[in-house]
């Protein structure tokens, strides 16, 4: 069983890598289309809901990250009304405009892709194509450092490669840089590795349809 699943993983990783290559190559030809697609995804996934700007996009703080303490998330036992309960980690929406010093300007699009697909903090993960879904296997870091919750990458990793590359392209090339320094999020010393174990995250790619809670639609 174990070997089947691991070969499945490595097989799917190969496919992933191949798709990445194909979509990456294509993106250079239709850069603008890709960026416009990325823009649509950033808007319809409500990235700005946390990362700032809300509607309209004309807002100068578009995607510039935390502006006020009201935007902090309380992760753990604490809440805004019970801030002393432990454990307590304040996490903060990062500036995701391409500003070099305070945003994501110095990360490559691949590092942004790796953040969205694998949840890996871009500043602390090598700029490489990740070849596995399991820590320690392939070049998935053995001690992965994950983005702080509630960034919903565990769900968004199911987005297609094309979509994730498009988001990365839009953030890197389609948005104006804004200088807004956001302090790093707090978190446990393992950078959430014990919270995002493969068991917790569930299978990738998605399990076949239908699962126990699902059903085949009745055929007409």
């Amino acid at each position: 069983m174990k070997s089947t699943s691991s070969s499945l993983v490595s097989c799917s990783a190969l496919v992933v890598a191949l798709l990445m290559f194909v979509s990456h190559a294509a993106s250079s030809q239709t850069a603008r289309d890709t960026i416009v697609l990325g823009r649509q995804l950033v808007i319809d996934h409500a990235c700005a809901g946390c990362h700032g700007g809300l509607n309209p996009i004309a807002n100068v703080k578009w995607l510039a990250g935390r502006q006020s303490p009201l935007q902090d998330f309380y992760i753990g036992a604490c809440t805004p009304v019970a801030p002393n309960a432990k454990p307590c980690f304040l996490t903060r929406p990062r500036n995701i405009t391409p500003d070099n010093a305070t945003g994501i300007g110095r990360f490559s699009e691949r590092q942004i892709f790796n953040a969205l697909r694998f949840g890996l903090r871009p500043g602390e993960t090598p700029d490489v194509t990740i070849t596995s879904m399991t820590p320690g296997q392939g070049n998935f870091p053995a001690n992965p450092r994950y983005l702080a919750p509630p960034m919903p990458w565990p769900e968004w990793r199911y987005m297609s490669d094309r979509e994730l590359w498009a988001i990365a392209a839009y953030l890197k090339r389609g948005v104006k840089p804004v200088t807004n320094k956001v302090e790093d999020s707090e978190g446990p010393p393992d950078f959430w590795a014990s919270a995002y174990t493969p068991a917790e995250l569930g299978p990738y790619p998605m399990p076949p349809f239908p699962m126990a809670s699902e059903q085949e639609p009745a055929s007409k």
Binding site: T102, R106, G123, E124, P126, N143, S185, D190
Partner: protein, 507 residues
Amino acid sequence: MIYPERPTLMRRASRSCVACIGVAASLMVSARTVRGQHAAQDRANAVSASAVRTGAPDTLRQPPILRNLSRKRGTVEVELTASVVRLALKPGAPTEAFAFNGSVPGPTIDVHEGDRVIVHFRNDLPEPTTIHWHGLHIPADMDGSPLAPIAPGARYDYVFTIKRGTAGTYWYHPHPDMRSGYQIAKGLFGAFIVRAADDPLKSVPEKLLILSDNRFRADGTVDFAEPRSSEGMRDEVNGREGDLLFVNGQLAPSLRIRSGQLQRWRVINVAASRVFRLALDNHRLLHVGSDGGLFERPVEVGQIDLANSERVELLVRGTGAPGERALLRAMPYDRYVPQTRPADWQTPRDLLTLAYSPAPRVRATAVPTTLRRIAPLDTLKATATHVIVLSQGLINGRMMDMHRVDEHASLGATEIWQVENLVGMDHPFHLHGFQFQVIDRAGVPEPFPSWKDVVNVRKHEIVRIIVRYDDFPGLWMYHCHILDHEDHGMMGVLEVRSPPPPPRELP
């Protein structure tokens, strides 16, 4: 200074390290007579001796000066052995430690510009090691980098000549692949002082302060965290920190000064990761030098940040009244990511008590306004810029590979290194072999030129430095000097190549 409970190296100790068994005072005398040329130190000791009678405590010991075996003028020939010893790194709790010539800190190597230095090194440790002469501008094969490990039981002679103009405070420590943090925490570090014949502060009494930290298990053994534990992860992120702070291996010693007296302190931070933000109660400090020696002129400051492996030279003016006390403290400094910031990081820590003797004030010594000339390296002459991106544990997205050259340069070239810190914690950046100058930090020009070999690149900061490879082709390391980061591969290799010979003229 820490002395072994039972000296295991008696034979060697008797030849080259009288201090290991001796009393500090008698040691100082013997070291002094051998060298016979450190007038400043003599005066400092004379002051100490007179104060013994007057009662102010003066417990800070100075590491022994390594005995010069050569009688030849301009040659310093010494023996250095790294071995396993039993001594109390933590006072009162003798344990297994590593030591150079049996003492922690190791003996001070004290030389002059122009000296030929021969270090007969023997590795009596059960594991490979090297000695890296941190900051010295010497040939690449003498640098003690991880490329040249010395096997257990093996000997190696480090031989190099000290260049003119390089007077300053340096230090030596092991630099083996993946084990530097371990070996230094076990006790392997020492000072290396280079003196100039025309030192403008020659007459000022001098003290060496080697700052370190460490932590221990209940039985006194050095506490290294299990890699997978929460503490281990904290060490990996922050770099290992100790809860006990030492000066010359002593906890909270006192240093005597006389009211009105001027003292020169050479301060070395040998801690694995801790940044010491130094402040002396009721005193303003005169900052007179950094890694590569004196500034052009003294700068008065309230406090000084000393990142790991950086050095400073200070002038402490005895502005206090007879009988007064002042604490030298490590003030809070936030170098951490919030995830692993220690709970007590905001607590100031006491390092040392400056104890004024009851003797009446002496007339203050005048401080020279000009110390030396430092020619700024010309950015217009820079022929290349190396962009070095530091992220957590990585440089330019890669881990150290000893078989890979990451950066190339030509001998004689002047180049800029743009060091960008991507992440929310400080990374002190060290380039082996060459002293550099900082151009700017976060776009703010450095106010005056100074020679550095380590620059602390703060959170999300870009620091530009300029370096001239005036001599010594070969392979050189550059790395984060947080030892845990360095050991885990946050390091790269620079190759400095001699330019090809000019084409021969046709007949």
